[in-house]
């Protein structure tokens, strides 16, 4: 079921009605049933995969938690034993061994329980791509279940949280299944944390008009971004080539980035809106990334839940491990005391972005895309002490408008460079397009470049919508809770906004005959 379809609208409204009609205690059952129906539309194979992953996570987390309790008990006994160690050293050694053994068991259990789902995910996503490197024979064409990455990452994150003792394991397997399969997040995420989402799912909510209105508003805004901006701009990407003029290639890359943002964040807003109508706050996945003053900030604002997941479960794992400590020592030797401190973080960042790159798609461009961001941020980290010195020396005021404008443009340029790898299929094409950007900057008959691709009116509509987007994003940047304020505003303020959004979507949105509603850039992850 596509989240842009009429079926989805009807499905969400039906779920909302049933959700608020049934008693508070069993409202989570409505969510589970709705998730089952939603996922059922995607095929039984995917549902089976999801249930197996959830069952594995549920079982292993209970086992893990029991082991953790045993380890804690053993550790407590060790502490007590240590005090009497002088009287019976052999007995104390035995107890120390017991707690260490449990820790090793726990590690092995965690490794086994996360390798299985992650391995299955990697196999389904990358097997055909890797095979294609060596042979031209057709691959296995494995059916990748809907939202595979999202539910796998959620389950793996949950198991790591249990391992770390940061969360209590779910006691009710059906409730855990709901956490793993909550329908709004199945198409595009976000990757929710168990401690953040689960309490909201099992709580059950009373109907709140403000929440409902805010949910409708977010969803409409999402549709505006996706159907009017992203889809109207879609034609430009297939048209761009090295034969185009330099300025047009650059503009196409900018348009691609805007389109990507509107496509992904638009879909996310529809999802968040649907959840908000049910009283559930889903993690924000985009926080106006184009207002970032550094690449690192850009990635803290872009696909936030993915970044958080990698930071929580990969970055910290690397930096706090024995390998991380070794890296710190090596860094200090190589770059000196100050810069060396950042070395483990630098290496972890590069690793994370390499993984994020291949998570997007299994090809060389994705690897380069990830490594580019990893290296950019890694270098930024390593050079931070030097930058601080320079800023101090030249008395740079970071609150100065010109400095802010400079850093903003710098971030834009760095981010845009990466898009050359996203917009093309091979590194050769990417570098070719990058080179062509600096050639032939003739503006003669420039408008024809656009009208050759699609109607002038489509460009005008998309352009106006982008202006609306910029204005709204500026307002949201200054007042992040504008949505809730609008939901509580008098109807004569709210209605015109809603009517404008609905009419704009209905008239200028891309849908209907010949429109491929499944063409989300960020599905099938």
């Amino acid at each position: 079921m596509n989240i842009l379809s009429l079926e989805f609208v009807v499905f969400v409204l039906a779920t909302v009605i049933v959700y608020y009609i049934v008693p508070l205690k069993i409202r989570w059952c409505v969510l589970l049933a709705a998730s089952g129906v939603f996922y059922g539309f995607a095929g039984w194979q995917g549902s089976l995969w999801l249930v197996l992953t959830a069952a594995l996570s549920y079982g292993s987390s209970i086992w893990q938690h029991n082991l953790l309790l045993k380890e804690r008990a053993a550790a407590a006994a060790e502490e007590a034993g240590a005090e009497t160690a002088s009287s019976a050293p052999a007995e104390a050694d035995k107890k120390v061994c017991a707690s260490r053994k449990i820790k090793i068991y726990r590690k092995l259990l965690l490794a086994a329980s996360i390798i299985l789902p992650l391995g299955a995910m990697a196999f389904s996503k990358y097997f055909d791509a890797i095979r294609a490197l060596f042979t031209s024979s057709p691959g296995l064409a494995i059916i990748v279940p809907l939202g595979l990455s999202y539910f796998t990452f959620q389950c793996v994150g949950y198991m790591i949280d249990i391992y770390r003792g940061k969360a209590e394991p779910a006691r009710n397997p059906l409730k855990f299944l709901l956490f793993a399969s909550f329908f709004p997040q199945m198409t595009q995420g976000p990757i929710a944390q168990y401690t953040q989402l689960m309490p909201q799912l099992e709580e059950g909510h009373r109907f709140d008009p403000d929440n409902f209105t805010a949910g409708v508003q977010i969803a409409l805004w999402g549709l505006f971004k996706k159907m009017i901006i992203a889809d109207n701009l879609a034609a430009v990407n297939s048209a761009v080539s090295t034969n185009n003029r330099g300025w047009f290639i650059l503009l196409s890359v900018i348009i691609y980035l805007i389109r990507l943002y509107c496509d992904f964040s638009g879909g996310m807003d529809v999802i968040r809106g649907a959840a908000k109508m049910l009283g559930i706050d889903m993690a924000e996945n985009f926080r106006r990334p184009f207002f970032s003053f550094s690449v690192a900030e850009y990635w803290r604002r872009w696909h936030i839940s993915l970044g958080n997941w990698f930071r929580n479960y990969v970055f910290y794992t690397i930096t706090t491990s024995g390998f991380g400590i070794w890296l710190a020592k090596a860094g200090k030797k190589l770059f000196g005391k100050k810069a060396g401190r950042y070395f483990p973080a630098t290496i972890s960042t590069i690793v994370i972005f390499f993984l994020i790159g291949i998570w997007h798609v299994a090809n060389l461009n994705a690897v380069l895309y990830g490594l580019y961001f990893g290296l950019t941020m890694g270098i930024e980290l390593l050079l931070e002490p030097a930058f601080k010195k320079l800023k101090k020396k030249f008395r740079v005021n970071e609150k100065n408008v010109f400095w802010k404008a400079f850093t903003l443009v710098r971030t834009w340029i760095l981010v845009l460079l990466a898009q050359y790898f996203a917009i093309t299929a091979t590194p050769k094409e990417a570098f070719g397009l990058l080179g062509a950007t600096f050639r032939n900057w003739s503006f003669a008959n420039g408008w024809a470049q656009f009208t050759d691709i699609t109607y002038a009116i489509v460009w005008k509509v998309a352009g106006l919508a982008v202006v609306v987007l910029i204005i709204v994003d500026i307002i949201c940047e200054r007042k992040p809770d504008i949505n809730m304020k609008l939901a509580r505003a008098p109807f004569y303020v709210r209605w015109p906004v809603l009517i404008f959004l609905i009419l704009a979507i209905v008239i200028f949105g891309c849908y209907g005959a010949d429109y491929d509603a499944t063409a989300f850039l960020y599905t099938h992850f």
Binding site: L6, P209, F491, W495, I507, G512, A513
Partner: protein, 382 residues
């Protein structure tokens, strides 16, 4: 029992409960618990939501009207039909483009005083005709229906022309409109056509200021227009040869047959006389077998008709100069044909001459407008 210290601001759920309980003890009629602020807020929300939905429906209906192409045939003739004064349509002609191009309502009025309205769409299948007729009979009570049988030759089960389906948007009765759409399109396209926007929203860049006019301008034919759409061009054709050896076609579309019979039954049920009309067209040789089949079925209902393509019925049309294209007559051809039809109708049915009747003034106005544009066809009879 009223609490004298009660103030609305201080009212809480607990107070309401205690007030109720106290009245139970004293035996007085229990007071209805006062609504809490939260309940009032929710009530206000539902009222506003209902108001918003109503407002949005009105806005969207108008937006759909603006975006829908105002084809002069079909959609416009249906819109306009609603504005014809009640009880002023004696003859209703329904069917395909052959109806609205060949049957010149102005000639019928001018020369015979017959009040006729052309309610037809290009390539209209019988299931659409059925819906149009159903809606038309709801609004007016004509004495006679002229049923164009061209649709009997259509072999496709569904209409793959968006234009034909969109014409049904002129039907104001939502149920009839949905039934028409349901019959016209494949099931997977039904929602899209029923909502309308998925089909017409991309027309936003073609919108003209005239698209905002309610009712539409009907191609500057005025609101008294009676559905006739002239074709002012000429294409030379030969008089069609007909093979009279065969009378039954190899295949007839069952769906068309079903609705053809439904139309006949609908007229019988509504006590309206119906006759089949075979409009003259240059391409008739391909249609003959189907027309025969239609007459054969109609006979079972005791219904007859006139096929103007048969040599004995042919109007004095010069196919070399009085055809607009391979199917339709041009103005001159339509005038000649309509005169023939008028004669036949006068002879066969007791149709009143309404000329000079103030209730039928719209026909005068329509004819005047048309003859002002085409004065060469005006006869001294008027």
């Amino acid at each position: 029992m009223k609490n004298e210290n009660y103030t609305p601001e201080k009212c809480t759920d607990t107070e309401n409960i205690t007030a109720g309980a106290a009245s139970e003890v004293t035996g007085n009629k229990p007071e209805k618990p006062k609504k809490t602020r939260e309940e009032r807020r929710k009530r206000r929300f539902w009222l506003r939501l209902a108001g918003f939905i109503a407002a949005m429906l009105i806005i969207l209906t108008y937006a759909l009207f603006v975006l829908t192409p105002k084809y002069i045939y079909g959609i416009c003739s249906m819109y306009n039909y609603y504005s014809v004064p009640a009880g002023t349509v004696d003859v209703l002609a329904v069917g395909t483009s052959l109806t609205y191009t060949n049957l010149n309502t102005n000639i019928l009025w001018n020369e015979y005083g017959i009040a006729c309205y052309d309610l037809a769409t290009a390539e209209q299948p019988f299931w659409s005709t059925y819906a149009y007729l159903k809606e038309a009979l709801r609004v007016q009570k004509p004495k006679l229906v002229l049923l164009d049988i061209k649709a009997m030759t259509y072999l496709d089960d569904k209409v793959d022309r968006t234009r034909t389906v969109l014409c049904s948007y002129g039907i104001l009765n939502p149920i009839t409109r949905l039934q028409t759409i349901y019959e016209c399109v494949e099931p997977e396209d039904f929602i899209s056509f029923a909502l309308g926007f998925p089909q017409v929203h991309t027309n936003y860049y073609k919108i003209k200021t005239s698209d905002f006019d309610v009712p539409p301008k009907y191609g500057n034919r005025g609101s008294s227009w009676k559905g006739y759409v002239e074709k002012d061009e000429t294409a030379a054709h030969d008089t069609p040869n007909i093979n009279f050896e065969f009378k039954t076609p190899n295949y007839v579309n069952e769906h068309e047959m079903e609705f053809f019979e439904k139309i006949l039954q609908l007229c019988i049920d509504n006590d309206v006389e119906v006759i089949l009309i075979g409009y003259p067209n240059a391409d008739y040789k391909h249609d003959h077998l189907y027309y025969c089949k239609a007459f054969e079925i109609a006979e079972q209902y005791g219904i007859t008709g006139i096929n103007y393509n048969l040599p004995e019925n042919r109007p004095p049309i010069d196919y070399q100069t009085e055809c607009a294209d391979w199917q339709h007559l041009n103005i001159s051809g339509s005038v000649k044909f309509t005169r023939d039809l008028g004669e036949d109708l006068k002879e066969m049915y007791d149709l009143e001459d309404h000329r000079g009747d103030p209730a039928f003034a719209s026909y005068d106005e329509c004819a005047k407008l048309w003859f002002d544009r085409y004065p060469g066809y005006k006869t001294p009879l008027y």
